[in-house]
Symmetry: C2
Subunit: 661 residues, 2 copies
């Protein structure tokens, strides 16, 4: 028999609490200032009424804050709370019998039917006396006065009315009994800072920031790039690994097995006698130079994100000090990376299953905290899906416990369930399949999967149209228009996106037959002409400026597709909850030909009304249109306007007012 | 850091185990001999292979039985187990690294690429030696021999082959290491006897089984009805309450507030000086008579289901002995049932929230066990939604712990979430909204909701076209054809169904403007002419005989609708998993007019092939048709064939064989 006290077990059931991830096994994700809309099925046997509160608290608060839940429909109740701090929040639901509400309902019906309610009045007085026993001050006075007036009333109707005044109801609600209450399990919310949701990443090899061919740029050279990158509107400057690079087994240009003098090696072959994951490649500068760069970037409104690639080169200090952290072959040698028959002789994977797993975990934490202490609050994690998810869950929790502002981006291009698991385990942002979604239906389906299913509560998609590993076919073949519309898609479908440098130059020479860059920066020093002909830097600046001035584009879950008549044209909008900001995006997915299309606008949903008039402000050209009706006909020409963005407002009729003269 | 031992935490993730109800809060339901198809997402980081087993055990078994899980797709794994006992089962999943599988994969790829695998061979031998350390007998010999042959092989390919023979693989699988394993939570299965899924209920007032107007029939009279009811093919004979009825506040005919001499009272006004819930109304007979009836029914293949109505009449012994079990008014009197302004002066609800709740729970359990001891294994519970669900969960668990064969049917016609909660809490069967679903789309949607959503795992619908409380409009207006096709729908859409006596007589005189019977048996003695003109007893017999001879109709989840061209005609089929039995049901939902329709048969799904020939045996008329193609044209005339049922088989071509003479 449940419970051992004399109070009967609660007869209230609280079920199907939403949102929650995997039955509450993992936290949901939100950002500071964000809302958490909680709903649940709440009901009990019989006809008695119930009340419910949503309880929530920040991690370090001992008392629950409360929001009264409202009945929605079909036993569904809902309430909302705002997460106002960069920490972990918890929420749960408490529901209890609404004794006074049930009594009011009963006595009201009986009075209405002309029945004698003397006994019911007595019950009501008893109920309110019980509540008064918990009340004090003004509430107590209000309740005592109501009871007195009810007792002295001339008729039953007046007596009930005395117990039903607004002030009395308020005093009752504030002091009501919760005997018979049911309490749901607790659910957690990881509350990140806003950048977890809204950020524009610029990815680069710091050694390519210079002007002198054949040698590495320095952090000082990177500082000289800051104005250019800030002008384009990026918030996050992400560097491939900045650590010393192994000389032995060094890869040459275009991933050749043999390197020659002057080849810098792959930054992911981390470690040399100059140090490992907590050291800086001497060619880039010193730790002081790095800190200077972090400060300089901040002055441009940007922060630095580092790459976390948890493996050692053949020269990494770990291999000497901790060979037991790696896979040891029967002959005692350490096993390098393989995906047979591919071999990665310049990288040795850590063995997270080794008996030394705790030492490995601790060292990884130490490294992250080292860089956090040097001003890094964002990390792009290389191939997290080749390390245990349970390790990431622990690592991120440890880091967040001290530094909740830290944001981890998961670079896992792998199977869907694995990508989701990493996001659930704590990664604030995730790379996605966006890079390879090119056609209308597949883009729409993927966008809806990300933002309209349970994924929206734990996985924040960071859309990259390219990376230093991936030059997708659409960019290879579609040229400048493709770069433009892929940028628009990335920057407006998701609130977080990024490009890999060179994108703004429309750099698209592939290794033949592969989705990789020819002469990749991974293997050689590069010098770029950032003003070279055909660049779209101004276009990038424009898109980022539009993102910054439109709150609708800074939200994630609000992506909504609309129908278009042409299968080459994709259209969607994002709107703020109050509909004050609505941005309609229309993209011609064919980089070669112009397409005409009819776009169907959901004017009712947008608060404009089915027959409304719309003021549509095109955000690239600054042209304003007056649209009537929910069907608009548009032409998108890849050479002229591969994408269009409209800020929509209801057209307001101003009445004629006689001038005051 | 998870875990304190030196073994690293498992890096395997087991997610989204199906089936489960409310994250495992409630058991799923199955019947003895039934299958449980379990699937889950199971994966780990990296490329290493994994294996997984489905573990299951009956409540009283200490060791898990195991089924190897197979990879399906997209990190989904599946296996099945059979529940072979009327008890509670548990299941969970254990997954672990497939060390040998990963090794085989790696060495196979390397051999294929012509690489030297000396080191890998050594690793393999070490792996198999570790496995051999757990092996004994033949397995040990096999493994040792394999290792010896691998060591002595002339070339690496032969060495690998020696470790890869079928017998070696089997010995490896039988003794493999489970280091690094992950174990899922456990989930429960309530395994009922078959009748929980497959039963046909006949509901009656035992006092109406006689032949003498104006007086109660006896259990002996009921015994004389057994051949008739058994001939119709019913398994369960359900009685409205058989207990003494209060004389005070007794309701008269047609629910009038005043009763006159000779009015028998409502059987739900339980209790008089002659006893309460463990007593039998003296007019019906004695406890011995009841036991005799139970035995007689069993000899006809039927069991008795009793009505459980947990309330007391004004004369119930509880009111005197335990007034604190009820709602006490301020004046000290006990509160009768109300749903203001409606009053039920002849029934006093128990107060399950009173301080005496434990006594009430215990007494309710005592009553149920009392009748179980007198041979009753099925209970139809009246208005369970007006008592706490947590009470039912406890009660049913207590009864099942001693008598797992007991089946409770929930008579909750209330809101959907409440009905579901009762089913989750343990009711084996549930009344449904079927009684009021009349049109094609709503019937289809409801049928799919019940059998194709998560509801199928916890709620078994018992379809009643009528009850003693409900005479739905379709029967009032549609007359005999409506009785016929509503019977067919109830008896074939669900594997459990029932009728309230009089249905077979097409009794359909309503209280004007209400969905209730005029001159209801609830308020008066009745004598029925079971042979009266227009009866459909033979039709009922036929339908039940078809149910008994077709295993497909004895399953629940296998309801599948097919498209028809006429919105008045509903069609669906049920098939056994092996497709040996396929029953196609076609129903004209318009009781007034004939309709022609085209039925589209999913011949591929049915294993017949898109262009196949079908032998269709009509089960009412015994006619056989040879159909070609997946579109069949049929006419259903309410006066002639309101419903058709076809047993479908692939037409088999017999080759000409020369007679042997």
């Amino acid at each position: 028999m449940p419970g051992t006290n004399t109070v009967a077990p609660s007869s209230i059931i609280i079920e199907d609490i939403q949102p929650r991830v995997d039955c509450g096994r993992y936290p949901i994700k939100r950002e500071v200032g964000d809302r958490v809309d909680v709903s649940a099925d709440i009901f009990r046997d019989g006809h008695d009424m119930i009340a419910a509160v949503l309880q929530f608290r920040a991690h370090d608060e001992s008392d629950w804050r409360e929001e009264e839940m409202r009945f929605v429909d079909n036993d569904r109740w809902a309430a909302r709370f705002i997460v106002d701090d960069n920490t972990t929040f918890f929420y749960r639901i408490e529901a209890y019998p609404d004794y006074v509400g049930s009594w009011r309902d009963e006595i009201g019906k009986k009075l209405g039917a002309g029945l004698d309610v003397a006994s019911e009045l007595l019950e009501g007085v008893h109920l309110i006396e019980e509540i008064a026993s918990r009340a004090s001050g003004e509430d107590l006075a209000t309740l005592e006065s109501a009871i007195e007036r009810a007792r002295g009333a001339n008729d039953q109707g007046s007596a009930v009315a005395a117990l039903d005044e607004a002030a009395v109801c308020a005093a009752i609600e504030a002091n009501r009994s919760r005997v018979g209450r049911a309490v749901s399990p607790e659910y957690a919310v990881t509350v990140d800072r806003l950048a977890a949701r809204f950020s524009a990443w610029y990815s680069m090899f710091p050694r390519s920031a210079g002007t002198e061919p054949g040698r590495s740029a320095t952090f000082r050279d990177v500082e000289r790039q800051l104005p250019r990158i800030a002008d384009m509107g990026f918030d996050v400057l992400y560097f491939t690994p900045i650590h010393p690079i192994s000389k032995s087994k060094r890869k040459g240009r275009n991933n050749s097995l043999v390197s020659v003098e002057g080849d810098p090696g792959v930054p992911y072959a981390i470690g040399s006698e100059e140090g490992g994951h907590d050291a800086i490649h001497p060619e880039l500068g010193t730790l002081d130079d790095f800190r200077h760069l972090v400060t300089q970037a901040a002055s441009f409104g940007m922060e630095i994100a580092l790459d976390v690639a948890l493996q050692g080169s053949p020269e990494h200090p770990w291999l000497k000090k901790h060979p037991d952290w790696f896979y040891i072959r029967p002959d005692g040698s350490i096993k390098f990376g393989e995906n047979p028959p591919k071999r990665y002789e310049d990288m040795y994977p850590l063995n997270f299953q080794s008996d030394a797993w705790r030492e490995i975990w601790d060292e990884m934490l130490r490294i992250i905290l080292f860089w956090v202490d040097h001003g890094v609050k964002m990390f792009r994690v290389d191939n997290p899906h080749t390390k245990p998810t349970v390790f990431w869950e622990w690592l991120i929790a440890q880091v967040r416990a001290k530094h909740p502002e830290v944001i981890f981006l998961s670079e896992a291009f792998t199977r869907p369930k694995v990508m989701r698991a990493l996001a659930k385990a704590g990664f604030a942002q995730s790379y996605t399949y966006f890079t390879w979604r090119n056609f209308k239906q597949e883009i729409r389906e993927y966008g809806e999967e990300l933002t309209q299913t349970e994924m929206k509560d734990f996985l924040r998609a960071n859309f990259f149209p390219n990376t230093h590993d991936i030059l997708p076919s659409i960019l290879q073949e579609g040229g400048r228009p493709a770069f433009q519309f892929r940028l628009v898609l990335a920057a407006t479908m998701s609130s977080a996106y990024g490009i890999y440098s060179g994108f703004e130059l429309c750099e698209n020479t592939p290794v033949p037959g592969k989705e990789e860059y020819l002469h990749s920066e991974k293997y050689e020093y590069k010098v770029w002409d950032w003003d070279r002909s055909g660049n779209i830097s101004a276009y990038v600046s424009r898109v980022n400026a539009i993102r910054r001035s439109h709150p609708a584009l800074q939200e994630y879950e609000n992506l909504r597709f609309v129908d278009t008549s042409d299968d080459n044209v994709l259209a969607y909008y994002k709107a703020t909850e109050d509909l004050a900001d609505i941005v309609l995006v229309i993209v011609n997915l064919d980089p070669f030909h112009a397409h005409q299309t009819t776009v169907r606008l959901p004017l009712d949903t947008l608060g404009i009304g089915h027959d409304g008039q719309v003021r549509a402000h095109e955000l690239f050209t600054d042209e304003t249109f007056l649209w009537t009706g929910n069907e608009q006909h548009l032409t998108l020409d890849p050479q002229d306007n591969p994408a269009m963005m409209f800020s929509l407002h209801k057209w307001v009729h101003h009445d004629y007012v006689e001038p005051d003269y």
